[in-house]
Amino acid sequence: MGSLNNLTEHLETYVDVSRSPTHHAESLKAIAASLEKGVLSLNQLVVEMDMYLTTTDDVVRARGILLLAEILNHLKSKPLDNAVVHSLIAFFTSKLVIWRSLRGALTGCLALIKRKGVAGVVTATDAEAVAKSMAQNVQVQSFALHDRKLCFELWECLVEQYPEAMINLGNLIVFATCEAIDGEKDPPCLMVAFHVVELLARLFPSPSGPVASEASDLFEFISCYFPLHYTHTKGDEASIPREDLSRGLSLAISSTPFFEPYAIPLLLEKLSSSLPVAKVDSLKCLKDCAVKYGVNRMKKHYEGLWSALKDALYSSPGRDLSFGLEFLTSPGFEMDEIHREAADLLQRLVKQDISFLGLVVDDIRVNMVFDTISRYSRYEEMPDTSKLEVLVVSQILSVSARASVDSCNIIFQTFFFRLMNTLGIVEETSTGDLVHKENSTVSTRLYHGGLHLCIELLTASKDLIPSSKESSSTPGSAQQSWSSIVNRFSVSLIGAFTSALQSSNDDCSADAYLGVKGLLAMGMFRGGSSPISRSEFEKILTTLTSIITAKSAKTVKWELALKALVCTGSFIDQYHESEKALSYMGIVVENLVSLVRSSQCSLPYPLILEATSEVCSTRPKYVEKMVEGFEEAFCSSFSDFYVNGNFKSIENCSHLLECVTNKLLPRVTEIDGLEKSLVHFAISMWNQIESSVVFSYDFNGREFVEAAMKTMGQIVGVALVDSQNSIIQKAYNVISSSTLPAMESIPLTFAALEGLQRDLSTRDELTLSLFASVIIGASPKASIPDVKPLIKLLMVSLLKGYIPAAQALGSMVNKLGTGSGGTCSLEEACDIIFYESFASGNDISSDDSSKSKCGSETLLSKICLGFYGSLDLQTRAITGLAWIGKGLLMRGDGRVNEIALVLMECLKSTSGSGNALHPSAMKHAADAFLILMSDSGECLNRKFHAVIRPLYKQRFFSITVPILESLIVNSQTPLSRTMLHVALAHIVSNVPVTVILDNTKKLLPVILEGLSVLSVDAVDKETLFSLLLVLSGTLTDIKGKQSVSDNAHRIIECLVKLTSYPHLMVVRETAIQCLATLLELPHGRIYPFRREVLQAVTKALDDPKRRVREEAIKCRQAW
């Protein structure tokens, strides 16, 4: 009973027009849901609704009917009794007559007719009744938009789902459709209407049917929309895009051949209009019609079509052949839409009926082009009209040739001989026979136009070769007479292209471009039935390769040839041409790789490398070959260097390594087996170093060492754990057999360390750096042998000032202990780092001066604080400590807190024991915070498998910032104060902005103070800028608003000062931008500062930098 009460309520709500649409929707949903669940039956509902459906109040009745209809709409998938459906559809059909309740009646009919598959479908007789009633009673055009759309949808549904019933109605339905469409203007309705026309045409295909007899009327109604033009472009976002509607119209027009006598003349007429949209639309529509109307009907229009097509092709303005690199694989000129559509249509027509080609072949303009070609030898010399002529004709021919094998044959038979004649490959004898001059390339006349036409034809024909699978099944190679024609001339053609390429000089790109493009076209015939024999293919490759190897500098020609080779390579890979792949490997790849190996050629080494890597990257097999070649080249150059002291070879080595890093490493995931060969490469690098016992020549090859480190690190980074292990083992062997381990046994007293005069030899430095990069790149799972001695070694080198050693230590402590094969736990490692390494020499730890106030009594920290050793040692220790700290921080180890404390201790003006710290040490300590907080590209990142705990920056921030703040308050000297601020700025600017925003209130005063302190010295400009960016971040965010508002006076004061900051333009610019942002604060809060700001900004109008001035103008206007 309760549900019934609810029902009445819902019904009342829905029927009440004064309620809001959301209320209506809710009540509708509720009723539908209860019906769906079976709480309420449809009969019950109808009985309950009786009053609403039969009342004399028009409005209420209309709402009632609509409600019933909408409910049915919701119940599309619910099985209903056939009798119920019948009575419902009868009810709605009867209501179609009354215009007031039309909306409900239409919706109801639609909902019922759309039912399919489930129990309870409308029968054909009922559907017929609906259609009849619609046709007789409903005046579609007199309704509002939504109702019209419903009408059309109902038509659509009826025609689609009850074809038999509709056929019974015959003429009536066609008339009704005509009547309904007449005068329709809204895109959504038209879209449906066009579809209805299309469906009707399908429904009555017979020539004596109603559509055939009414074709002219029906066409008249739809053709008046062509070409579509929207008068109201804006406003209707939900409306249908023009393209869709135009497509619908085109389908409707092409729906039945009966439209042909009316449609084609109309479309041809529209094609000659000056409106580009009309042209494109007519071309598209003609294409549809050509398919649907059939050859016989189209035939009588061929003349008209051809001339219209020609006009369209010639008319598109301003096209020019460009000889750019990027056009090597495309037609070589820009096409607009009209042009593209025209070409499409031409191809479609030729494909459909070969007789259309007769028009093309006999056309005077097409035939004239050969005269034009032979009149100008150079493309640049041609007047624009001739250029256009050549381009268009070449396109017409290539498009038609592409249409089918037959058309291609005809085109080749008709034109190719003449073309060859023009180019001088074929000569006419006195008897009028054409004689092929096999070996007279000398007399070949290089007409650019001719070459272009030739290339276009060749590229067109090459697409016709069926892929290897099909060709084996179809024995029809005899019918491909074009292929034999190409075959006959291939030698001469290749000769012609080659001579074009070779005769070209650097300032004329046309020759080179056409030559290379021609060769490329010849080389890209695929399959066994290719008209180009293998020896000819090889000749092409040889020519191109010789261009690359012969040139001593990067020219257009060189680049073109390289691009062509790369294209050929990827073409071979794409179509699995095994035979050609062999030739390619033999001629191109081996040639280039041997060049890399020998490094004795006129071409600069980087160019060889570029060419090789480009060419070889087309196929995994070549890559393998290339890496082998690289490896050999590296070994030979390297040994050449250390035996003969050839500095050129070491330079080559650096280039080679760079090439490996930049070109090969990024592609490891794409190419199978590359990882393995790269690991092999890395190991042979170590082998080389191992065998080069002594460098007989000193070199300051910073560049080489860096390149080697980068390559080594990245190879290790991408390698699998097993391969990593083998590299590490190899590296360890090398390092343990080198002179380096001697450093371990250096008496680790500070005096000894200080006195250690001997610098590392070049080789040792190289070994050490490479080893460090191996450690940096290794993943936590890789096992490192003999960790303890290695740590000691790295510690000593760190204190000697080798940053890579420090980074390696950082990586080590970051990754230790998580792996399985660790011989040393993190605890032990830290012990070694912090205490042990120096304890062996002198019992310093018992030194009483070391009882400092700093929290942890570590040795390293004491060095940092300057208790022992020189200033150099101190700064190195600080930097090293920072890297180690970073490693610990990222894995979330607690020891980093102690390190932070030590570093902060360094920042105090006087250390615990009272001796003053040197400014440079303080500077290093401040910068250590940057190392700790920033993301490094060199080590300890994801690429190098670092262990990264989430939110480590936030944690460090929350620990250190309060301490730093209190230190700043208590700082005694200006220097220490500045340094503390630098450190704080590093932390604040590297932590995610959200953290800052949560703490704005606390941080803002410190940031502002920092800004003013840092602005004193030019050295801190970068830090100042990053801090300013943090400030600007807080200004724009809603969270910071309150505290910004509270501190407005100080912020403005600070920013005003920064508008004249002399050292960095971006600082001034950002400061002014910040001032502009501040205007969002309440007016009363900032108004007092108006004068001050305006003064500052007016001064900035005279800034030396334009960017600043621009911002100043905006800001001034805003204030």
């Binding site: 050292h1063 005279d1102 334009r1106 960017r1107 001035r1109």
Partner: protein
């Protein structure tokens, strides 16, 4: 209150009358002409804008100085809207790049503008807009000289005189109606 009255009284009568005349001459057109002066102006393409941010040498070299040149000044004024059309002065070719002459070392700038029609009574308003915009955009050290291109306006001399008279400009800017009109024209150029 008293002092305020005194101030008013102390204002020299000559100046008062001057500003009154000014008001008339600047706003006169509004009452005189009912239709638009140039109903159907020719709209031209606008030139490509120089991208200030893309200037690499200026961005990398901290010490280099970008002198204020005619392009920069032109950038300031090109987007000023015409008082009676929704087009910018550049689109109407009232201003072109060549119409601005700048001498940064002497702190002098001269803008020569070309009214669309000879009898254009908008010339003074346009000139005023240009002057106000430059006053707001250039450093104070600049002397701004604005004139109508020779031979393009019926009352050329009068307009030139009016535009370069400091006091007359100041007086005009005291008129709220006029300032509102100028600000409306300038609003688009501050984006």
């Amino acid at each position: 209150m008293n002092s305020l009255i005194c101030l008013r009284l102390r204002l020299p009568p000559a100046l008062l009358s001057l500003s009154l005349i000014e008001l008339k001459s600047f706003c006169g057109r509004k009452k005189m002409v009912n239709g638009l002066i140039n109903e159907n102006p020719i709209v031209y393409e606008i030139k490509h804008r120089r991208d200030v941010r893309a200037d690499s040498s200026s961005n990398t070299n901290e010490l280099s100085v970008d002198a204020i040149d005619h392009l920069e000044v032109f950038d300031h004024i090109r987007d000023i809207k015409d008082p009676e059309h929704p087009y910018s002065l550049e689109q109407l070719k009232v201003l072109t790049e060549d119409s601005v002459e700048v001498d940064d070392s002497k702190s002098h700038v001269r803008v020569t503008f070309t009214p669309t029609v000879e009898h254009c009574s908008m010339a003074t308003i346009i000139g005023l807009c240009v002057r106000v915009k430059l006053m707001r955009s250039l450093p104070r050290r600049y002397k701004i000289d604005i004139r109508v291109a020779p031979g393009t306006h019926a009352t050329e001399a009068a307009v030139n005189k009016q535009l370069n008279d400091k006091e007359r400009v100041a007086a005009a800017l005291e008129n709220p109606n006029l300032v509102e009109m100028v600000d409306e024209c300038l609003s688009s150029s501050f984006e």
